[in-house]
Symmetry: C2
């Protein structure tokens, strides 16, 4: 009953299969855009709820800023960049009307509008009106919004022309405070990835050539996918006074002097769901971490004779009701009774491909014996994956079972990450040879052929060029630096900085 | 300390003053779009949470559909409408690049894309892929999204080029089921308006000329603003098979025949916040119904001597902590301690203008006497608006106090609505004279000069023209019809249908 493609067979096709078989999203008739379906959107809702709580705990407030940014907001940036060209959706007309029997754009705008690719510019414009004195600082806002980037090779969740995200934007009275904010929110992302998505990450700073345009420093969290490639899971930017200078965000400080504010921005997107898929899904389909599963426990009635239907449904209803007060992870448990007009086998495999953490099959024998068959998606196909539990013990074990699954998923991924960071590659020759191999599936519990290399980097100006030629990237400069001396794996020059090299999405 | 403009003095300016003094939203540098600020966005979050729960209770699932709709999706509609012209944002280019030192759109799209003004067309396209058999029906989805309509006279919350909303879209196997859905969701809107926003509404059907294009029937809820004008608060459309035919949503029914599905759509938007303002705000500023107040209880420390600060803040912290377990309306209470570096008088008036339901001032005398000064925004300026409570009684009264405020706000608005529906106008002459007057503020507890008229309508084809000439509209054909015979107030012809006539936003 597995997917058409396996991870070992055709990894990119396997990824598409997981999404379509789990019914999480699909390509739409709107080119390059996706339809996020309930099972995929439900995961985004959970991510949003968890992170929104964090945003508010850390004193940020939600706002909403315009979708459209006047073209002139990009003029200054363009003048500073050689060969400036950005793939962005441009609105040029404000009306649709019939012209010789054909529908056509009319009402040309005086100034074209850009559909926001990110909102630093338009938010900085608002900040410039809100901030007058040091008393108005810090400004700590966030928005949950859609953004558009004209991707030429769209892939569901990973790279679509429109995607959903949160973008935090803050302004501060000092560089130190803004830097602290940047790092605090990066830490919030690490926590989100690891403790909510069960997706371990490496945290660090981006090299100069990978920084967000206009940032002083870009920090990031990077996850390892099952093919050994890296996925940038979230970024947090310290923007210094750069955006404040373009948008004129000034304030009168305590010494009564006018000063530019220091700003930050940080974001994570629906791309995280792509990361969750490539961290946890297997050859049977999706495996959803309990914390973000739209349904954590699914009941599948197994009705062999129509006359048993009522007894089975009553038994399920009663058992499901006992879960009501349960609070795995301190939240209301999410339970589904699948009453659809389909066979129990079809239902079982559907929920398996969707990756519901716990599937409970209930037939007449279970009703009579006061039992419930509990199957854990993570352990599918193993003897421990199937357990018959007395109904009296059922509710009591579900809470800890979900918590254990969440932990087991993290541990498995963490183990994969740790096993697949090579730090024993010490020369440019070995390094080159290593990355001449293609990325393939990292078999569970084994070391993959190609994944991450932790090694030295001299920071030379030609690094970007060398990296491009090898089709690899520097994912980050990890916070935990050894400081030891060594040889740059790109140039062979002496170097002390440790970086993470990898191919990436 | 009132607003610059009063309702009686200059109602439209008063509306703007309320929003800006409550710091709910502002015009942005993106023409016609608004920035929704935390106090306004917080209300939208509450509305969203309450209604999202209702959506899920009624078995709908959230999805997300693309922002962009290919132009060709509008071609068919345009061919059926004489002089078709729609004010919509049209994306024609996918790149921004420098051309002779000036930034310009490049990368012309083969097919222009429309920024969704509503999503029936693109969602019907998805439905056509999802629905094959009666077993796939009903499809019940909803999305929370931004939409764009190129308004020429934007007004904050009421009419902005971009706004936020939810749009529900469903497909069913029978007309009856779809009609039931349409009415069920209208009832959900009535409940939302009345029980969450404390904004009474009239529910009914739109006349033919006010229907959503493509709908068989459009149902609506209509609220009365304080100037006697109507605000359409929500609509629910029974679309019959019209959209199913354009998008080819067919299914094999139980008799093994292919049939077009029956669809519905329904939405409410950030416009509701405009309705809340014009239902509840007064000449001192905003008054927020407790159910949607971002903060329901605000503590303002009154520190006259710096040495008292610690004792006062400790007392407030302790008192606020006692509110933690309180669940007004069955939800966690939302409490704010205002610690900002401002005077207590400034803070008090700021929260008054923002319309926080309960403001608690705490000074050293209160600490020493074990008291708390509780002020209810709704009763500002009246002797009952200020009450000194023993701190031991405080937490116990807050829950019921908030519930009482919510109820009092609804009752006040309900009373206004009931008093201002004229049903004693029986001839076209009286009717004409009545609507020759301008709309002005309806003084609290009094009958305004012009508001709603409930009277007969013959349904004549020239009605729209006659209404336009008088600058009035038919808001709805209420569900509760008397069936009595009378005279059409527009044409003087015999008529039995009761309608609501009013000016509107």
């Amino acid at each position: 009953m597995g997917l058409k493609n396996t991870r070992a067979g055709n990894y990119p096709e396997w990824y598409q299969n997981v999404i379509s078989e789990a019914d999480m999203a699909e390509n739409s008739s709107s080119p390059g855009c996706m339809v996020i379906k309930p099972w995929g959107y439900g995961m985004w809702e959970r991510i949003r709820d968890v992170f929104d709580e964090k945003i508010k705990e850390t004193d940020h407030e939600n706002c909403y800023f315009p979708l459209f940014i006047p073209l002139s907001f990009f003029q200054k940036e363009a003048e500073h960049v050689d060969g400036f060209a950005k793939e962005m959706a441009v609105v040029t007309h404000s009306r649709l009307a019939m012209k010789d029997g054909k529908l056509a754009p009319e009402g040309k705008l005086e100034e074209p509008l850009i559909v926001r690719p990110t909102s630093e510019a338009i938010i900085a414009d608002s900040f410039s009106k809100w901030v007058k004195s040091y008393r108005d600082l810090p400004v700590l806002v966030n928005q949950w919004a859609n953004v558009v980037r004209w991707e030429m090779r769209p892939r569901l969740f990973l790279r679509t022309r429109e995607f959903l995200w949160q973008e935090g934007h803050t302004a501060h009275a000092s560089a130190q405070e803004a830097e602290e904010e940047t790092k605090r929110m990066l830490e919030a992302y690490r926590d989100l990835c690891e403790n909510t998505l069960a997706m371990p990450v490496l945290a660090g700073k981006k090299p100069e050539h990978e920084k967000f345009p206009g940032a002083i420093d870009t920090y990031c969290v990077e996850a390892m996918m099952q093919d050994g490639k890296a996925l940038q899971a979230g970024t947090s930017h310290f923007l210094g006074q750069n955006f404040a200078k373009s948008a004129n965000i000034t304030f009168v400080n305590k010494n009564n002097e006018s000063e530019y504010a220091y700003t930050t921005s940080w974001g994570v997107s629906t791309r995280l769901i792509g990361g969750v898929i490539m961290t946890h899904a297997d050859d049977e389909g999706m495996v959803v971490p309990p914390k973000i599963a739209p349904y954590q426990v699914v009941f599948v009635p197994v009705i062999k004779k129509p006359e048993d239907a009522e007894a089975i449904m009553n038994y399920i209803t009663k058992t499901a009701a006992e879960l009501k007060g349960k609070l795995p992870f301190g939240e209301k448990i999410r339970v589904k009774i699948d009453k659809r007009d389909k066979t129990s086998v079809d239902k079982f495999w559907e929920w398996t491909r969707k990756g519901a953490p716990v599937i409970c099959e209930v037939g007449m024998r279970d009703v009579e014996g006061g039992k419930i068959m509990v199957r854990e998606r993570l352990k599918l196909g193993t003897p421990e994956g199937k357990e018959i539990i007395a109904s009296g013990d059922f509710a009591a074990t579900i809470e800890s079972r979900l918590e254990n699954i969440q932990k087991a998923m993290f541990d498995k991924a963490q183990n994969r990450l740790e096993q697949n960071i090579r730090s024993d590659i010490k020369t440019p020759e070995e390094f080159k040879k290593y990355f001449e191999q293609s990325n393939t599936w990292i078999e569970d519990g084994k070391q993959g052929k190609v994944a991450f290399v932790r090694g030295k980097w001299s920071g030379d100006a030609n690094s970007e060029e060398l990296l491009k030629a090898m089709k690899i990237t520097i994912r980050c400069i990890p916070f935990d630096q050894s400081g030891s001396e060594g040889v740059c794996l790109l140039t062979g020059k002496p170097a002390t900085t440790d970086v993470i090299y990898a191919r990436s999405y």
